[in-house]
Each structure stands twice: as structure tokens, then as C-alpha cells.
């Protein structure tokens, strides 16, 4: 290849690289913001979903006909009230990772985080 052709192709190569980099970064931004607003807390009783709350909106909610109460703040969720003997569910504190859950055994109730990019299969 003569040097003038080499220079043109080099310029085109650089443009291509720039375009792809922008594409990559752009997609990154789009997907990140989509995921954050997509995160939610799923309330399940006995394996069946009964309610779903977005983690993007702060709030306090009565769930399962009032046997339990959850609080959502800053993208995390915790159990603040529960009609059960040992309140182990309340002691679990805040959770925010995908697949993390708070369980109130006597009420057969779990609150599971879904839909965030912070994901682990199990959190112990």
C-alpha cells in the first residue's frame, strides 16, 4: 500500500474506533439508567407474588393485609414491623442486592429484590 492510501485508511480506522467507543459508552449509560429505575422489591407469600414496589420511590407500605410493614429508602428495603414472635425479619436490616431476601417465616412471607445490576445468586 502506498503511504497516502495508508494515511486515508488510518484516518478511517480511527474514525471507526471513535464511533465504536462512543457506541459502547452510550449503551453503557442507557443500560445503567434503565436498570436503576427498574429495580423493585417483590413481596411473595408462599411462592406467589402479591405485590411489587419500585426501589426508586421512597415509601412505607403495609403488606400482606397488614401483618408486615416494609420501608423503601435510597434504593434499599427493610422490614420495619411484623406480627411474628421473634422479629428475625426485622433484624435482617436493609437489603439491596438482586436475589437478596428478607423472610418472615411465621407469615410465610418474603421480600425479594429483583431487577438491579448488582446481582449475586445468593447473599449470606
Amino acid at each position: 500500500m502506498d503511504s497516502r492510501k495508508r494515511r486515508t485508511t488510518l484516518v478511517r480506522d480511527l474514525v471507526l474506533i471513535a464511533v465504536l467507543l462512543c457506541l459502547g459508552i452510550g449503551l453503557l449509560v442507557v443500560l445503567r439508567s434503565h436498570n436503576r429505575t427498574g429495580a423493585y422489591a417483590v413481596v411473595m407469600v408462599q411462592n406467589r407474588e402479591i405485590a411489587r414496589y419500585s426501589l426508586a420511590v421512597d415509601g412505607v407500605y403495609d403488606i400482606n393485609g397488614g401483618t408486615n410493614k416494609i420501608e423503601i429508602k435510597d434504593g434499599r428495603v427493610r422490614m420495619i414491623e411484623a406480627a411474628c414472635p421473634n422479629h428475625l425479619c426485622i433484624r435482617q436490616g436493609w437489603i439491596r442486592f438482586e436475589n437478596q431476601s428478607i423472610v418472615c417465616l411465621p407469615n410465610r412471607l418474603s421480600v425479594i429484590v429483583r431487577g438491579t445490576d448488582d446481582s449475586y445468586d445468593y447473599v449470606l
Partner: protein, 170 residues
């Protein structure tokens, strides 16, 4: 096929496999199934520029087959094959068009390789959610493609020359 070409291809296949193996020893830094730098593509790009499309295809597919047998599994072989075919076809077209230089062709090849892998994974796992990994794969492909393209270009200049181009011109 002349003996010289067969030997040439054999060497490149072996080179590709060694590079693939070295790459597999590097711990995966992102939990994306099958994400690879694609070091083996150095051999493929070099084959493309020094021997030709058909020979590069041979090197690529045989490398995928043997690597899958030795180091991987049917599934990883499938991912690899999809990526390798898409990547090579794209590279051959772009090279023929003369629009981009070796680096540009290599970068395109790397990006297409990853797109192919994600595409096939989406299809096999029946989920579109893997799309989430696209940005990371594109960015890493660009970086890998640049490195591979430069290395291959240097090798072609020093060793192979553009025999394909010369043959086509005749």
C-alpha cells in the same frame, strides 16, 4: 492445496491454539460467560492478509474445533464458532473493500466476534437479557482489536506480504 500452504495453515492453527490457551489462563475479569480478548485472532487476521479468505476460514474453524475439544466444551465451541464465522466474514468483506486498514479490519472483526457470541448465547439461552453485556463487550473488543490489528499488521509487513491481494490482481 500446495504443501507450503498446508504447512503455513498448520502453523497458524497451532499458534492460534497456543494463544487461546494462554488467554484461558488469564482470570476472567467480568462475569460474562465466554468473554475473551481473542488473542487467537492474531493468527486469523494474519492468515487473512497473508493467505486469503478460504485459508483464514480454515484456520479459524479448525482452531475453534480443536480448542473446544481440548480446553472447552460443545457450548463454548458453539459460541466461538458463531463469533469466529461472523467475525471472519466481516473482516474479509471490509478488507476486500479496501476501506479500512488492518487495524480497522481487526477492530471490526473483534466487535463482530463478540456480537456473534452474544447473539448465539441469546438464542441458545432463550433470553434477550444478555444484551446487558453489549457495552462491555464492544469496548473490550475495540481495545483487543486495536492491539491485535497492530500486531498482525507488523507481522504481515515483516513476514507475509499481501499475497492474497497480489493473487487477486493477477
Amino acid at each position: 492445496m500446495e504443501t507450503r500452504k498446508v504447512v503455513h495453515m498448520g502453523m497458524l492453527i497451532a499458534l492460534a491454539m497456543v494463544l487461546s490457551f494462554i488467554e484461558s489462563q488469564i482470570p476472567a475479569f467480568i462475569a460474562v460467560p465466554g468473554i475473551k480478548l481473542g488473542l487467537a485472532n492474531i493468527a486469523v487476521v494474519f492468515a487473512l492478509y497473508s493467505l486469503g479468505f478460504r485459508e483464514a476460514l480454515g484456520v479459524s474453524l479448525i482452531r475453534v474445533l480443536f480448542s473446544a475439544i481440548l480446553f472447552g466444551s460443545v457450548l463454548s465451541g458453539l459460541y466461538s464458532a458463531a463469533g469466529a464465522i461472523l467475525s471472519l466474514l466481516g473482516m474479509a468483506l471490509l478488507k476486500k473493500s479496501g476501506f479500512f486498514g488492518t487495524v480497522g479490519v481487526s477492530v471490526s472483526g473483534a466487535v463482530l466476534h463478540n456480537l456473534g457470541q452474544i447473539g448465539i448465547a441469546c438464542f441458545i439461552l432463550r433470553t434477550q437479557a444478555l444484551v446487558y453485556y453489549l457495552p462491555f463487550l464492544i469496548l473490550s473488543a475495540v481495545v483487543a482489536g486495536i492491539v491485535i490489528g497492530i500486531i498482525a499488521a507488523v507481522l504481515v509487513e515483516r513476514l507475509g506480504g499481501d499475497e492474497y491481494g497480489r493473487r487477486a490482481e493477477k
